[in-house]
Amino acid sequence: MINRFIRYIQRYKGWFGGGAALCLLIGLYTGLLASPPDYYQGEVVRIMYVHVPLAHTSLLAYSVLFGGSIWYLWKRDPLVDNMCQAAATITAMFTGLALVTGSIWAKPTWNTWWTWDPRLVSFAVLLLILAGYMMLRRLVDDPDREGKYAAVLAIVGGVDLPIIKFSVEWWRTLHQPMSFSTRGVSISDDLLVPLLFMSAGCWLLFAYMLMIRTQMLYLTELLQAKKGRLLSQTHFSQSAQ
């Protein structure tokens, strides 16, 4: 007896995946082939079309995790807990990729793989928080407590993130002037079209991945329950309501 949300996801997730693929294809075409190279940076500016959407999507993904954690603490729906766990892993993936692409971009433009740029530092701290979140999940034995503790960590981290961003920004501007604040890129229409398509594609891709991973976590627990390993019956009393 599979939860009806999981069955809805199975029915409709294809639209999200297809939409993501379409948007990303258009974004890739306009970004890699149709748009002109930047006057100063040359071809390297095309990294922006993958880096900026990844960074935006990881922030969106963390807000999904934050909202989901509050929702879980309020309703205690195990499916929401699965969604939070799925969101955390995917957020970590997007954040890590945003850092890696940022680093690859920094090499040709600033001639260094890593600089203590405020945004890079904030994202590194975000990645550390998410790593802690995923470790925490593995170290709690009781599934009820696991969800609760993880939600607490996600909420504290979510409240902390804006403060971290402000403090790191002040800290860097105090020590060195922000020499690369706009990275020499003025947003024109040529840049905006691929950026918009890639952003939409990444958001849809995030939604699609979130659905699949939620399914995966739920179905793993369901299979364990069927094999009689999960003693708690919360999942099934919830899904019947």
């Binding site: 170290l139 960590l153 002040w170």
Partner: protein
């Protein structure tokens, strides 16, 4: 039991335990001394270098000793199932939180006040004129650390690998406190005018308020059996 009475009893209990065993503060002090020694070995410092680095060294050693104290705060409750007693006793959990924050704050602050003269001695610091502002920075940063730290101490004490997980979870979240404390301390030690670093003190105040409130609400979930 009324709210404030609970806070008072929790603080009193922790202080009496500490006075009788002298476990936490002595281990924190020892650890901090070792950290200071290691730092002075690893950087050979003249007066100028000391000025640049000292604020960071002070706060790294304070933070790590603070984590030791925070970890002990709840792991000492594991003996004789005291943690379960706290969980099931009919007292407001928020009061337990505030009591623990206050006790940790007092432990950490006393260690810091004992250590600071040693820093002045070892690193040849000029004795600062603005000790009042420095004390304010110590107070605010320690309060911020213990506000978040107490929450995560109560959380990690109930999971596996608790000694590792407390710093792993706490340190990324404490990044703003660290930055603000280091910058404000450096400003004070350099004798900069107050306006240069007042924003860091404001940041510490905001951090303290937000995280005391947030942790106060979330603590109930963690100490809920």
């Amino acid at each position: 039991m009324p709210f404030f009475k609970t806070i008072r009893w929790i603080v009193w209990k922790d202080l009496v335990c500490e006075l009788r065993s002298r476990e936490t503060i002595s281990s924190m002090l020892f650890f901090a001394l070792i950290v200071i020694l290691v730092f002075s070995f690893s950087f050979s410092m003249d007066q100028d270098a000391a000025r640049q680095l000292i604020a960071g060294i002070i706060w790294v050693s304070f933070t790590f000793t603070g984590i030791i104290g925070l970890g002990k705060s709840f792991s000492s409750e594991l003996q004789n199932d005291c943690l379960e007693a706290l969980q099931i006793s009919p007292i407001p959990k928020g009061a337990v939180y505030l009591g623990k924050v206050l006790a940790n704050f007092l432990f950490m602050l006393s260690v810091e006040i004992l250590l600071f003269p040693l820093f002045i001695l070892f690193f040849n610091l000029d004795v600062v004129e603005e000790l009042g502002i420095l004390l304010l920075v110590f107070l605010l940063a320690t309060l911020g650390l213990s506000a978040v730290g107490t929450l995560f101490s109560a959380l990690t004490v109930q999971i596996r690998a608790r000694e590792v997980m407390l710093p792993v979870l706490l340190l990324p979240l404490a990044v703003p406190v660290m930055i603000a404390a280091v910058e404000a301390t450096r400003g004070t030690l350099n004798g900069d005018p107050y306006a240069f670093y007042s924003q860091w003190i404001q940041l510490l105040v905001v951090f303290d308020i937000i995280f005391t409130v947030v942790s106060f609400w979330l603590f109930e979930l963690i100490l809920d059996s």
